[in-house]
């Protein structure tokens, strides 16, 4: 019975809930953006426009699933799947609460880094296989952006690893019993947040799909359900990075009074809202500005953070 619970019930329910959350966060984003931009947003379908997502789904599913004749067909079909698989796999190691976690192993953080580095392929292959100039440009930008920001995403995480002495997310959550790591790792948190936004290429770092310059970037040629996969994949990415920030810097499921899962959802949800606010508030930088910021400002800062953390741990820790 316990095996059934662990092997079947938890993963399936997590998967279904995640997909639903990702779908409804499109609604959340549109409503919140509307609030911050002094508009109404989608409010016609269902109460408060909540059923807008269902309407969108019906629209997406009934559209023609078109593969351009000039595309590299196999890669064109595989590309959106890679993104979905890599993002969903990431959730396997997140401890949602003390007893809701799909897989617990020692090198969880390395696993996350491996997944995030593999998800670059999705965008690159989408751009390459579309055989279109705009898609290719988008893919190039993504490759450069994700490669550079991945470097210090990993390095920013190492601050937490130094303090905890473990790559396991459960150990990291347990180590935050007395105080959250945001207090000891404020710089690391900010750097990880920036790198996280760049990794899931959300606004303001949405250069791969900057619609004013290169149409829709890497998914210009995609339609119907394959476009839907990219779309939902992006929101899954937002939820994933929010969950990761919660786990690494904000104590995970720990919190007083309320049950752990509620705490986890509250913290993650507020970061999702924060990501949407970022999109509403900050303009998109130019491509060369983005790269320069990454390599000349953020990378040295990350190394500094790493050295300071190591020094602090050596002199005051243990």
């Amino acid at each position: 019975m316990i095996i059934l619970y662990e092997v079947l019930l938890v993963p399936t329910s997590v998967l279904l809930l995640l997909l639903l959350c990702a779908a409804w966060s499109t609604w959340l984003e549109r409503r919140l953006l509307a609030v911050w931009q002094d508009r109404l947003g989608p409010n016609r379908v269902g109460p408060m426009g909540l059923l807008q997502v269902v309407a969108d789904m019906i629209k997406i599913f009934t559209k023609e699933d078109w593969i351009p004749p000039f595309a590299d067909k196999a890669l064109f079909v595989i590309a959106p799947m890679i993104l979905m698989i890599m993002t969903l796999l990431g959730f396997a190691i997140i401890p949602f609460s003390p007893n809701i976690q799909i897989a617990n192993f020692d090198n969880a953080l390395l696993f996350i880094l491996a997944l995030s580095s593999l998800s670059v392929y999705s965008i690159m292959l989408a751009g390459f296989s579309s055989n279109s100039k705009y898609a290719l440009l988008g893919a190039m930008r993504t490759a450069a952006q994700m490669l550079s920001y991945e470097v210090f995403m990993g390095l920013a995480l190492m601050g937490v690893v130094i303090i905890t002495g473990s790559f396991s997310l459960n150990d990291i959550v347990a180590a935050q019993e007395n105080y959250w790591f945001i207090l000891s790792q404020p710089l690391g948190f900010v750097l990880f947040l920036i790198a996280g936004v760049a990794e899931i290429h959300r606004a303001p770092f949405d250069l791969p799909e900057a619609e004013t310059e290169i149409v829709a970037g890497f998914h210009t040629e995609y339609s119907s359900i394959k476009f839907g996969m990219f779309f939902i994949g992006e929101y899954l990415g937002v939820i994933f990075i929010s969950a990761l920030i919660t786990t690494l810097y904000f104590g995970g499921w720990q919190g007083p009074v309320l049950p752990p899962i509620i705490w986890f959802l509250l913290k993650t949800g507020s970061f999702v809202v924060f990501f949407i606010l970022l999109r509403a508030a900050i303009p998109r930088p130019r491509y060369d500005q983005l790269m320069r910021l990454g390599w000349t400002v953020l990378l040295p800062l990350t190394l500094l953070n790493l050295m300071l953390t190591a020094l602090w741990q050596l002199t005051l820790g243990f």
Binding site: D72, L75, F105, D106, N107, L110, F111, L113, A114, S116, S117, L118, V120, Y121, M124, L125, G127, F128, N131, L136, A139, M140, A143, A144, L147, E150, G154, G165, F167, D288, R292
Partner: protein, 208 residues
Amino acid sequence: MIDIIFCISAAVAIISALLTVSAHNVVHALLYLVTMMLAIALIFFMLGSPFAAALQIIVYAGAVMVLFVFVTMMLHQGERSLAAERQLFNPQVAKGPLILSALLVIELILLSLGSVGLHQEILTGSLPVDQTVKQLAIQLFGSYRVLVVLAAIMLLAALVSAIHITKQGNKPDTKAKPIHKSGSTEFTPVEIEPNQAQTNKKTRGEHG
């Protein structure tokens, strides 16, 4: 169970390595190479070194190969490069490599037939399992620290020389300077257009 997974990932590794060499489309070949690296990472994982497995994915599959794909994507010419690839790979050229690799395969078979002990050891996982990252770090920065520093210096030298090569001042054609000077945030199309047209003409003239 472990045996089955090992056999599957080894088979995947070998097949994708073969396809890497034989695929005509460069990007497809690179993707088969990525698959091979993932299979090798899985084998590392089963041999009891999850850290090496993760590094294999992060560094090789996730960074080095991405750069390869990046460059080939830029230089890819579609049908033309495909045709060129098809011409390149003919039986005449393949003769030498085929003989050499056949020799290697025969050696491998002889070795694995001769030393069953090694084979067994790998399959049953009696190699030192559970090598934690801490142990690895202690070894790397303890007994092997000179090598680590040497590797770091080598990489630094490569980085510095790469920066030196791409530096603007070294270009013989000073007129073809990039439009965006560092620091200038304004975009002035009027200044750019004649410059670009000039350089375009120049390069076209050189190649044609």
